[in-house]
Amino acid sequence: MKSLVRTFGPLVAIAVLAVLLLVVAPAVLSPFRLNNLGKYCCWAIAAVGIGLAWGRGGMLVMGQGVFFGIGGYAMAMHLKLEAAGPEGIPDFMLLYGDGTMPGWWEPFRSGAFTLFAIIALPAVAAAILGYAIFKRRVKGAYFAILTQALAVVFATLLIATIQETGGFNGLNQFTFFFGYNLYDPVNKKMVYSIAAGLLIGCLVLVWQLYRSRFGELLIATRDAEERVRFLGHDPANVKLAAFVVAAVMASIGGAMFAPIAGIISPSDVDATASIFLIAGVALGGRALLLGPALGALAVGYGRSTLSESFPDQWTYFLGALFIAVILLFPAGLASAVGRAARLVVRPKEATP
């Protein structure tokens, strides 16, 4: 019985979250708040991936904004072309460019290709980068710094390519989402539901990953990489797999962010945005199943509400959150709560 709870307890928790996000929230929240919740869900999807890479795999990915951006921009390019109509080209290329569209935009007219690209592009990018990094056994702080530098460079590149990516302004003014008018409140709710559903889907996926042998291997690699080598596994491959999955999740989050926020711009994907994603994961508990997602939702909510109430103090909150959580609860608030609860409920039992 206990092992059943251990196995399926998390799944029940995911189901509860699913009901909350998909049934309760649409019923009680205003369209504006629901749309915001949709954005938090997008960050949460990316956060689930960070939990996998960092919490379970020990890779502090400080540049997830890059993959968030790849998905976001891929989706935004499609929406932009959809808004421009068949044969049309995005307005900003007419305004800021010479009125021609770079060839690599063309495939994004196809919805199917776009969906494919949202998965494939980050996977390929992460695989190449990860291969280069992990095979050379670059890890720890070096890895973190390199990924953060990557986010800086990515944003710089976007800002500098005005005619191709809209530069600092990013891409916005989308009207349709795969044929659905984005201004229609019913459709907005649908887009929200897709984002929330994808979040649940990602959670189920990592749940399965965590209980699989791969999940055990990932923890093993995190804790004793050399030892894993002497089990006949190349730890680089284990880490690479987690890194790629995390990248794809970030990309999915970004892809849904574009239609929900109505915009994707360099400031949504730069180093600061990447750190913001990390904050949620750290707060919620990096190694837990639901920790990163709940943390990201909380930080997203905090960013909206705190900046409404204390516009100037938001940065202090974010900074203090990092300091307090990492210093006092390195395993995240959720684990601290969980530990306290266990102490209260069954004080004598050893933690498994």
């Binding site: 502090l60 070096y142 710089t156 590149l157 990390i278 940065t315 203090a320 210093l327």
Partner: protein, 294 residues
């Protein structure tokens, strides 16, 4: 303009600036294993010290000379405070020091904004730095030469401290074998603190140099921190030699890339260069000890 001289000289100055920032990191990261993302904000603190000094010592010719030691002390004390209150609890968690100091950096930036305003404050260039010398058509500003001199002096001072002073021996001993150092009577905790003070103080000096380029603003540190870390990573830990070469290489490469393409693309190209370089030499230019970091 000579398309060789200008990027070379300007890049050398950029490299010098990176070197000052990276020297401090080489101490705190390379020697102590602390990844201090707030190092950039210590740079910022140095720049603001230059500004405040000018408010007090209004003669810009003198104030910059006063600002250098003042900035060293201010940034150093900030570093010391950080070490005593936060870092000291996390020596075994290098990745967590990274995240905590990200938070510290955010707080310091906002503090600067609240104290000095989000607008940059001006720092006047002393008259003795106002001017340039014509080198093959490049009007090489005295200010850039000053930066280079400053970096070289900081380097020499640091190298001499480490090599010849009793305290330098204690730092080196602590880095090489902390337990052994403790058991020959070195108070390694005190050594840690003073090392952190010096490393952070160097950032303050870098801040004064930066203030001569761009005045002050709260985001000033973020501009340099990543490049400085890349320099330390590419240089390899434990030896100043690698940091020096990497700093100038990155600075000069960025300048040449900027000359050939654009400043934005230069950032991209330099990053690509560092990644490729780490592919070839994952340990950086010089390695003294194995990578102790997680």
């Amino acid at each position: 303009m000579d398309s060789f001289t200008t990027p070379l000289l300007a890049g050398t100055a950029t490299g010098a600036l990176l070197l000052i920032a990276a020297l401090g990191l080489a101490l705190t990261f390379g020697q102590m294993g602390v990844i201090n993302m707030a190092h950039g904000e210590f740079l910022m603190a140095g720049a603001y010290t230059a500004f405040v000094t000018q408010q007090i010592v209004t003669n810009a010719d003198i104030s910059i000379v006063v600002a250098l030691p003042a900035a060293f002390v201010v940034a150093g004390l900030l570093g010391l405070l950080l070490e005593v209150t936060v870092i000291t609890w996390m020596y075994r968690r290098p990745l967590d020091t990274l995240l905590v100091t990200v938070g510290v950096g955010l707080v310091l930036q906002q503090l600067a904004k609240d104290i000095f305003g989000a607008q940059g404050d001006p720092v006047r260039t002393p008259t003795w730095l106002d001017g340039n010398i014509d080198v093959f058509g490049y009007h090489w500003p005295y200010r850039q030469m000053f930066t280079i001199v400053l970096a070289v002096m900081a380097l020499i001072a640091l190298a001499a401290l480490l090599k010849y002073s009793a305290f330098g021996r204690q730092i080196r001993a602590t880095v090489q074998n902390r337990d052994l150092a403790e058991t020959v009577g070195i108070r390694t905790r005190a050594v840690d603190r003073i090392t952190f003070f010096i490393g952070s103080g160097l950032a303050g000096i870098g801040g004064v140099a930066v203030s001569l380029i761009s005045g002050t603003n709260p985001r000033l540190g973020t501009t340099y921190i990543i490049s400085a870390f890349l320099v330390v990573v590419a240089g390899g830990l434990g030896q100043l030699k690698g940091t020096v070469i990497a700093a100038f290489a990155v600075g000069i490469a960025t300048s040449f890339f900027a000359d050939w393409t654009s400043a934005s693309m230069a950032q991209v190209a330099t990053f690509a260069l560092v990644v490729v370089f780490l592919q070839l030499r994952p340990q950086g230019l010089f390695v003294v000890r194995s990578r102790g970091l997680a």
